[in-house]
């Protein structure tokens, strides 16, 4: 027989509901929630990448000396490490959001909803084409 743990006080004739508290670490226990938090966190690295790109563009505009100085900064171990982490998160951000597109858009053709992969595929296609075009521009330049 279970003994009373503490004397509970509750309103007579009304069930005393137990209201569990949500831990601040709710996202740590299961991979799917951790993945969600990582996806949210990835936005910080996306912003960082955008800032780095803008700084790089500014260095290009300022001339060869400024660009060489910027490249020198980029070659420092700490910056390389941050760049690698940023690359991981930017890829994670891009792929997870591309894969979620079919959820947000129910695209119909001739009254029928098209398969999910067909909604996600153009994102990848545009990504590859744009990346290829930019790479060509940089490598040729």
């Amino acid at each position: 027989m279970q003994q009373p743990t503490k004397v509970p006080h509750y309103t007579k004739y009304h069930p005393r509901w137990f209201r569990p508290r949500v831990s601040v670490y709710w996202w740590l226990g299961q991979w799917q929630y951790l993945r969600f938090i990582l996806r949210e966190l990835s936005s910080v690295f996306v912003a960082l990448t955008v800032i780095m790109t803008l700084l790089e563009l500014r260095a290009v505009v300022q001339g060869p000396v400024a660009y060489a100085r910027f490249q020198h900064q980029l070659a420092k171990p700490g910056v390389i490490l941050i760049s690698l982490i940023s690359l991981f998160f930017v890829l994670f951000h891009t792929i997870t959001w591309f894969n979620l597109t079919p959820r947000a858009m129910a695209v119909k053709v001739a009254g029928k909803r098209i398969p999910e992969w067909l909604v996600a595929a153009p994102n990848y296609l545009i990504w590859i084409v744009v990346s290829g075009a930019i790479s060509l521009l940089i490598l040729r330049g």
Partner: protein, 259 residues
């Protein structure tokens, strides 16, 4: 006795306990048994005071939802054999709901939220009922059919951290249900529902964790319904900016974010 499996079940008696605790029970591991069979076995043979909800035993009534090893599941659709390799299977009440007793949760807040989104056909313009039924094509039915499969099991609420963190959030099933009516060609209530849905406690409270869709036993895809509503709302707002007249017409017909 053949093979058996140990269930750790959360028990809470409002008269005796200050908080829930786990009790263990050994039950036969039968191939055809689901978690609900194990609970019934415990209630019949071991401890008659165990309290839980169930009714149909076939995934229709939506009343037997519990957390099984931390995942929201229907007790009647979760085979014990899928946990055969585990030492213990933990069965707890659905997360984020107040607990009435043992595995029984309090659904008053959920039901109030369902009602809030006006889940019925709203139609004030004609034709009158005596003039015949509203006709619908198979394509129009397909627009909302999947959303109408919800059995109100609340598994999606237990999978959604926003529900746990924000008590005012309308929640996945209620928003999906609102969309079920918004997408129904016979309905004209989308504009009324917009007041509740296009709100920080409605669709904009959703951070798209996506777990509601994964755990839904009926494949309703509440996460999809919410994101589609967001896209619809954003497009309607944008359309209003560039074509104010057209927007007014669309709203009058379907509401700001009918689709």
């Amino acid at each position: 006795m053949g093979e058996s499996i140990v269930l750790e079940i959360a028990r809470y008696s409002p008269e005796r306990d200050a908080e829930p605790h786990l009790e263990t029970y050994e039950v036969p591991l039968r191939k055809e048994w689901v978690v609900l069979d194990a609970l019934n076995h415990i209630k019949d043979k071991i401890d008659g005071s165990l309290t839980y909800r169930w009714s149909c035993r076939m995934g229709i009534c939506g009343s037997c939802g519990v957390m099984v090893n931390g995942e929201p599941k229907l007790g009647c659709a979760t085979f014990l054999s899928s946990y055969a390799g585990r030492k213990r299977v933990r069965v707890e009440p659905l997360r984020y709901f107040p607990i009435v007793r043992d595995l029984v949760t309090e659904l008053g807040d959920f039901l109030a939220k369902l009602k809030k989104v006006k889940p019925w056909l709203i139609r004030t313009d004609g034709p009158l009922l005596r003039e015949g039924e509203y006709l619908q094509t198979p394509e129009q039915l397909d627009d909302y059919r999947q959303l109408s499969m919800c059995i109100n099991c609340t598994l999606c609420y237990s999978a959604c951290p926003v529900v746990g963190l924000d008590a005012l959030f309308v929640g996945p099933a209620a928003i999906a249900l609102a969309q079920r009516y918004n997408k129904d060609s016979r309905d004209r209530g989308a504009k009324e529902r917009t007041l509740i849905l296009a709100h920080p406690d409605g669709i904009w409270g959703c951070t798209f964790v996506g777990e509601c869709t994964r755990v839904c036993p009926q494949h309703v895809d509440p996460a999809g319904a919410i994101q589609q509503y967001k896209v619809g709302s954003a497009l309607a707002w944008f359309e209003g900016l560039i074509m104010p007249k057209k927007r007014r017409k669309t709203e009058d017909r379907h509401g700001a974010a009918a689709d």
